[in-house]
């Protein structure tokens, strides 16, 4: 139930990255990626950019749902007007033994369920609002890295609220 969120600019360059875990159902909000999987997250997310570009011209909506799957990792995407992509990778962890039945209906364990899609859509909408505020900054040029700790805090809060 860990999430890796990245914002990719128009030149396929990453502008912002954030890892967090689920805060629902007793989760503590800290990402639990195995050490060797952490750098793979970036690769997986960037390799799904090709699929994003194919899908974005098929329909005009901004939220493209789950577009890619790599073993246990699911990637969902949101495309903004300025062709900046928000990518969220979720890796449901497998709890061993007795917890399996209770956890199987939660959002984090079922990344393709309609509740999960709805929750992720709300998360993306809130991040989009903060993103528009970021780009309205007259000193922000397109494809600049986002370093503001306030923005990071807002994204983390949105993650805690919806995921």
């Amino acid at each position: 139930m860990s999430y890796y969120f990245a914002i990719i600019g128009t030149q396929d360059n990453p502008l912002f990255e954030h890892e967090f875990g689920t805060s629902k159902q007793g989760g503590d909000g800290i990402a639990r990626f195995p050490e060797q999987a952490r750098h793979m997250n970036q690769f997986i997310v960037h390799s799904s950019l090709d699929i994003v570009e194919e899908v974005q011209w098929g329909g005009g909506q901004m939220y493209l749902k789950c577009i890619d799957r790599f073993y246990n990792n699911y990637v969902s995407c949101f495309v903004t007007g300025g062709n900046v992509k928000f990518l969220l990778l979720h890796a449901p962890s497998q709890p061993a033994g007795a917890n399996q039945n209770r956890a199987s209906t939660s959002i984090a364990a079922n990344p393709t369920s309609p509740q999960a899609e709805e929750a992720i859509k709300q998360f993306f909408t809130e991040v989009y609002e903060n993103w528009v505020k970021t780009i309205m900054n007259p000193f922000y040029q397109v494809n600049m890295e986002v370093k503001s700790p306030v923005f990071r805090g807002r994204v983390a809060a949105a993650g805690k609220k919806y995921l």
Binding site: Q61, G81, E129, V132, T134
Partner: protein
């Protein structure tokens, strides 16, 4: 990294100002960052034309001191308008009601967005006409015409520079919107005021939007809805 969980929006102001000295980031004295400002515009929040005219006049004279020709002056104004177009596109898409919040997928949809929503945002009225070029050599040119561009109202152009049209600034905004949406284009402003129909609208300006080759190819390739 900052490991304290930050409380959402206004409640976090006190803790933020305490951490100011550690982060080296300066916050305004009332603790409100740009993230606290609302994005949806209230009805009365419009800018006065006088302030804009003053600023625009200054922009034109600033550019004029530094350039050697009319083309360069128009290019400078164009470059100043471009980032505004990029930001406006996302802002206007955000403000649309969710049902109509779609990215434009083809040229016509994009141009309709520009002539209605963008023009209404900038000038409180939609653009006057949108035409496709009938010249078979240039099928990728479209023309947006505006009978009385607001930006030119207080700019007086001397007779020896009468090819200059300061609506190049608005052309830059339109170019920014096109580039942001994924339809790279070159947009230029031309005055067609003096002529047969010019007597009704002496300041009539036509914005010529010329899309690049790959846009036309993609347009032909995608299925027509």
């Amino acid at each position: 990294m900052a490991s304290q969980p930050i409380k959402p929006s206004l409640a976090g102001n006190a803790s933020q100002s305490q951490r100011t000295s550690q982060l080296g980031l300066r916050y305004p004295s009332n603790g409100k960052t740009i993230y606290h400002r609302p994005l949806n515009r209230s009805r009365t929040q419009e800018l006065s034309q006088a302030s804009f005219a003053y600023l625009f006049g200054e922009m034109v004279s600033y550019a004029q001191k530094r350039v050697t020709g009319i083309q360069d002056l128009e290019k400078r104004l164009n470059v100043q308008g471009h980032p505004i177009g990029l930001k406006l596109f996302d802002l206007l898409l955000y403000r649309e009601p969710p049902r109509t919040q779609t990215r434009p997928l083809n040229i016509i949809a994009l141009l309709q967005f520009i002539t209605t929503i963008l023009w209404r945002h900038l000038f409180s009225r939609p653009a006057d006409a949108l035409e496709k070029s009938s010249n078979p050599d240039t099928p990728d040119e479209y023309m947006i015409s505006d009978n009385d561009p607001l930006v030119n109202q207080y700019i007086s152009v001397p007779k020896e520079m009468n090819q200059l049209n300061c609506a190049a600034f608005v052309a830059g905004i339109v170019e920014g919107v096109c580039d942001g949406a994924g339809f790279p284009a070159r947009v230029t402003a031309h005055s067609v005021g003096k002529g047969e129909e010019g007597e009704l609208w002496p300041g009539k300006t036509v914005f010529l939007v010329k899309f690049q080759q790959e846009v036309v190819e993609r347009e032909a390739y995608l299925p027509k809805n």
